[in-house]
């Protein structure tokens, strides 16, 4: 990784932990230290970590609700217009704009759009896909998807100070601590 030719710049400080308990404690410390541009990386969701990081509740629900409403409205307008207004045909002696027969499709479209809302909403909130990310410069970080737990504090964070931050993280007894650097052209 370390290449003479390319200039390097530190981007993120990465602390590695082995147990869930350890990282939760660590996270609380970092939270209390008042950092903002930092994150926790775990192979699976850790309970209580949201609290430990002091994160607010997800806003996804509202997005889904909006999409769902769009779905149901779209369905009823579409069917009413197509069968009831634009070309009303007498089908089975029933009124062309009869509501009951529209219910199934109203439901299906609601679900469909809600599903889109939740998935793409989630990706949006998470700013995914983001195939390139500083933490990936770290060789050890691959364990984050296996059995290790990481705390990453970005250099951009205004409270970031190489030494102070190092101290803080060391005080949480990480199994390993590194300052990840990225090449700059």
């Amino acid at each position: 990784m370390t290449d003479v030719a390319t200039k390097k710049r530190p981007v993120v400080m990465l602390a590695e932990f082995e147990t869930p308990d350890a990282i939760v404690h660590a996270a609380e410390k970092v939270r209390d230290a008042g950092y903002e541009k930092w994150d926790v990386h775990t192979p699976y969701p850790l309970h209580g970590m949201d609290a430990a990081m002091g994160l607010k509740d997800s806003r996804l629900g509202w997005i889904v609700l909006a999409c769902g409403l769009t779905g149901v409205t779209a369905a009823i307008t579409m069917i009413q217009w197509m069968n009831g207004i634009d070309y009303p045909l007498v089908i089975g002696g029933k009124p062309p704009n009869a509501i009951p027969s529209m219910v199934p499709i109203m439901f299906e479209l609601t679900v469909l759009l809600s599903a889109f809302g939740s998935v793409f909403g989630m990706l949006g909130l998470n700013e995914l896909p983001k195939h390139h990310h500083p933490v990936f410069y770290s060789e050890r970080f691959s364990a984050a998807s296996n059995n290790r737990f990481f705390i990453s504090i970005e250099v951009e964070d205004k409270k970031f100070d190489a030494s102070k931050t190092k101290e803080l993280l060391e005080s949480t007894h990480p199994s390993h601590l590194e300052l990840v650097e990225e090449e700059v052209a």
Binding site: M1, L89, P129, H132, F136
Partner: protein, 210 residues
């Protein structure tokens, strides 16, 4: 380790825009190019005889029904028999080279092979006479034939197009004696009177499909 270049982070944006553009493009393409408006109108094949409606109907002012004699009695517009041409051209321009085919047909009793211009699908049963009876003029569907040297399809003749008029014929209605008049425009009170007209085309399937 870092697998992808930073630039790849723009992927979502690029993808979103790309999909939007492509989707829009394809939709428009199909919408425009596949519609009868594009595929049907303007069809003006070359005819075996360079007959000019512009000359006959336009300048000479021959009434449509002189040649398309059946049109008020039959579903067929009836392409006129050679006989009809010879009616005049036995005397007028009897030696014109353009009329060779006509004379040949008359002499040999072989029909002139006109190329069909206006065509509705065979499962759609269009009837000229009833439309005339309702007071729909030739020009509504065939355009300004009196200005065409070569007959050209003027309207899409698609089902949607038919339905437009069947649902609201008013703009296309005119007095029975003006049926073949290519330039007729309603006076104010005429327009008002046709607005009240109860005549309306069928919208149910068997109205046209049997």
């Amino acid at each position: 380790m870092q697998i992808f270049p930073r630039s790849l982070n723009y992927l979502p944006l690029v993808a979103a825009v790309g999909v939007a553009l492509l989707g829009g493009g394809v939709t428009f393409g199909i919408w425009y190019y596949f519609s009868p408006k594009n595929t049907q109108t303007g069809y003006a094949p070359e005819q075996p005889v360079p007959y000019s409606h512009k000359l006959h109907a336009g300048e000479l002012g021959i009434d449509c029904r002189y040649c398309h004699a059946n049109i008020e009695r039959s579903q067929e517009a009836m392409i006129p028999p050679t006989q009809a041409c010879m009616g005049c051209h036995a005397i007028v321009k009897k030696d014109s080279p353009k009329l060779a085919a006509i004379r040949g047909s008359w002499a040999g009793g072989t029909p002139v092979e006109w190329v069909r211009v206006h065509r509705v699908a065979d499962y759609a049963y269009f009837d000229h006479s009833v439309h005339l009876a309702a007071g729909v003029g030739c020009v509504s569907c065939h355009g300004r034939v009196d200005q065409m040297d070569v007959v050209r399809q003027d309207q899409p003749l698609s089902m949607g197009w038919c339905l437009e008029c069947h649902r609201d014929p008013t703009p296309n209605l005119r007095p029975k004696d003006q049926i073949t008049n290519m330039t007729w425009t309603p006076t104010a009170e005429q327009a008002a009177q046709f607005a009240q007209a109860t005549v309306k085309g069928p919208e149910h399937c068997s109205g046209c499909h049997r």
